[in-house]
């Protein structure tokens, strides 16, 4: 963004236009000001107007006489104040009588200087102040308005919305997030330059539907628009009107709208737009112009998630999280033999009862609580391995899940090593399950990190294999000790009777010279087929669901 104020200064001086038909007056001002400013002179209104139009970006101030031939000062003042590109230039009126002062100020003059002119320091101080005020206003305007669309930027938008609420406490308001469906695709198709034009165009159309007097508008996060407006019931029609206008010029640009209607003014303004955004997010991936409302379902989900986050610290302290163990059986021999387990977390909430990991793991992955939870689970698991080792003199390797976000923690390897050392188990006893999708995103960094863990002695199982992410080209290079077949992948294969695909996947494991572990095995048929095709290990309800440690001990005995 160009700083508009910087363009005013030429060779260290700002430029002032003196418009006065009297030669002597012009010369007196020139003499007064020439050391501090570049002076342009105009002998009449029309000449002044031509200069203003051609040098609007470099003129810092206009000193304007009121009575001039060919276009009077007031007419000129009114003309420039009514043109948006000229209106920001401050004007000081030069006047002989007080009557004109009020008219001038009402017409848009910043100040007036009487004739005969006051002493130079007074004139200079008034000029300096008028320029400073104008430039400060310009800087604020540049900051508060987005250059691409002319709408407010985020912080100012929230600020103005709050002020609006303060003066209109009883007006029901709607918070709206409007955005472009699949903006990335639009960006690829039209390119950056055209996308800026599209965003500008949308902003203009939004303004037509949501006029300034009852709406506050903002452009945010590249492809989103925030609208804070009086409550109404025809947002769908407004969206359609905007979308139709856009479609005439830019085909294939689809718009979506998330609406939080009749906002609760007790919650923070930014949170109101989080709610609108949640409604908006529900629409992602649709191929129609559509609207969605924030409703109780979304609200309950948020409240539930907030509750989980609030209760997290207590849950750790009170040991509400329990580690369950799902046995893994070695099926290479005649009889299945217990070969280990996967550690799985369960949350026994004192009021909400058993909460499924599917409800809190993704949430904690998003807000970072996962690090604390993982540490807790890993420690519990390592301590359990140690207990069994001491009690039964048997090693039962247990695998723990390393979530994708954990792979971005440079301290991961140290955290795991420390836990192993503190619990007094061997590094090979704690197996690590790293999901296949983690290898694909930012794969070089992840691969290096996994290699590092493997060098330290950890046994790495690639989890969810077959979910469709890794390329065959890459798989040969991955640092892994076992392939764990994706549960849904296996279930699909069995449902569609596509046994060949199972053979292929198991063949990949053989090529990599690593054992294959099948999870989610539920029926004898599945078990027998996998065993026959050479799968080394089986985990699933066919043998056992995840069970508490006391129950698991019977397998060790």
């Amino acid at each position: 963004m160009e700083n508009t104020v910087v363009t005013f200064v030429e060779e260290g001086k700002r430029t002032i236009l003196v418009a006065d038909d009297e030669y002597i007056n012009r010369e007196i001002l020139n003499e007064m000001l020439k050391d501090d400013y570049n002076i342009l002179k105009a002998e009449d209104g029309e000449q002044a107007y031509e200069i203003i139009k051609s040098k609007s970006t470099t003129i810092s101030l206009i000193l304007l006489d009121l009575i001039m031939p060919r276009m009077g000062g007031l007419e000129l003042l009114s003309t420039i104040k009514n043109q948006s590109e000229l209106a920001s230039i401050p004007v000081i009126v030069l006047t002989t009588d007080q009557e004109s002062e009020v008219i001038s100020l009402n017409t848009g003059a910043s100040d007036f200087i009487p004739k005969p002119y006051p002493q130079p320091d007074v004139v200079k101080a008034r000029i300096k102040r008028a320029i400073e005020l104008s430039e400060e206003r310009q800087i604020i305007s540049d900051t508060q308005n987005d250059t691409m669309t002319g709408l407010f930027t985020g912080e100012y938008f929230y600020g103005y919305s709050e002020v609006f609420d303060k003066y209109h406490p009883d007006v029901q308001m709607d918070a709206i997030v409007l955005g472009i469906n699949n903006f990335q695709v639009v960006h690829e198709r039209y390119g950056k330059h055209k996308c800026i034009k599209i965003l500008h165009f949308i902003a203009v159309e939004i303004r037509k539907q949501y006029p300034d007097n009852e709406c506050i508008l903002c452009h945010k996060d590249v492809d989103l628009f925030f609208i804070y407006c009086h409550h109404c019931n025809d947002h769908e029609n407004k969206l359609q009107a905007i979308a139709d206008a856009v479609d005439l010029v830019y085909s294939g640009v689809r718009l979506e709208m998330g609406i939080y209607a009749c906002v609760d003014k007790n919650i923070d303004i930014s949170k109101r737009f989080v709610r609108a955004r949640l409604a908006y997010d529900k629409l992602q991936g649709n191929f129609r112009n559509e609207t969605a409302y924030f409703d109780d379902e979304i609200l309950n989900k948020i409240l539930f998630e907030e509750r989980l986050c609030d209760d997290f610290a207590t849950a750790i302290k009170d040991k509400q999280f329990k580690v369950f163990f799902q046995p893994k059986f070695d099926v290479t021999g005649d009889e299945p033999q217990i070969a280990g387990a996967e550690a799985l977390v369960r949350w026994f909430h004192p009021e909400l009862n058993l909460i499924s990991p599917g409800k809190f793991i993704p949430l904690f992955e998003n807000n970072g609580l996962i690090y604390k939870l993982d540490d807790y689970i890993w420690k519990c698991t390592a301590a359990q391995i140690k207990e069994w080792k001491d009690k039964y003199h048997k090693i039962v390797p247990v695998s723990v899940n390393i979530s994708r976000v954990e792979m971005y923690d440079p301290n991961l390897s140290n955290r795991l090593t420390k836990i192993v050392e503190e619990c007094g188990i061997d590094i090979t006893d704690l197996h690590l399950e790293i999901t296949e999708s983690a290898y694909v995103s930012d794969s070089n960094m992840i691969i290096e990190r996994v290699e590092d863990l493997r060098k330290k002695g950890f046994y790495i199982e690639m989890d969810d294999f077959g979910a469709g992410y890794s390329s065959l080209n890459m798989i040969g290079e991955l640092p892994i000790d076992a392939l764990k077949l994706d549960m849904l992948f296996l279930r699909n294969a069995f449902n569609k009777r596509n046994m060949k695909i199972i053979d292929i996947v198991l063949e990949i494991a053989r090529c990599l010279e690593v054992p294959a572990i099948a999870e989610g095995v539920e029926t004898e048929e599945q078990y027998l087929k996998l065993k026959e095709s050479g799968c080394s290990m089986i985990q699933g309800y066919y043998f056992s669901k995840p069970i508490p440690c006391e129950e698991f001990e019977k397998y060790i005995q």
Binding site: E22, I24, E27, E31, M32, T96, K115, P116
Partner: protein, 114 residues
């Protein structure tokens, strides 16, 4: 060649005028003769003759600003008076003021050997 002292004797408030010009006396002395060529004098006389009081007011008003800036008090005084009369568009006898303006302008011109 006119001097600041000549203008003081004439009655001009030279101290104020010169300080308005950042203390530049030469510039002040060079600027005053430009008054003699100011079209507003003739415009004022003609408009009064034609009883076009609006135009006459504009001309007097302009002169008031210029003469005020130069602090040429004896000439400024009748200009201010006629300006105020013209502002209210009174059907008065303006000749007294015109005479006085012409007289004071003559005196000033003589100081500048015009």
């Amino acid at each position: 060649m006119a001097t600041i002292e000549d203008l003081k004797r004439y009655g001009a408030d030279t101290d104020v005028a010169v300080s308005r010009l950042m203390g530049n006396e030469d510039f002040y002395l060079r600027l005053i003769p430009k008054v003699f060529d100011d079209r507003s004098f003739d415009l004022l006389y003609e408009s009064i003759d034609n009883r076009d009081l609006t135009k006459a007011f504009e001309a007097a008003h302009s002169l008031k600003g210029v003469l005020g800036n130069l602090e040429l008090t004896p000439l400024l005084k009748p200009v201010i008076e006629i300006t105020e009369l013209l502002r209210s568009k009174q059907d008065a006898d303006y000749s007294v003021y015109i005479e006085e303006i012409k007289k004071q302008k003559d005196i000033l011109e003589k100081i500048f050997d015009r």
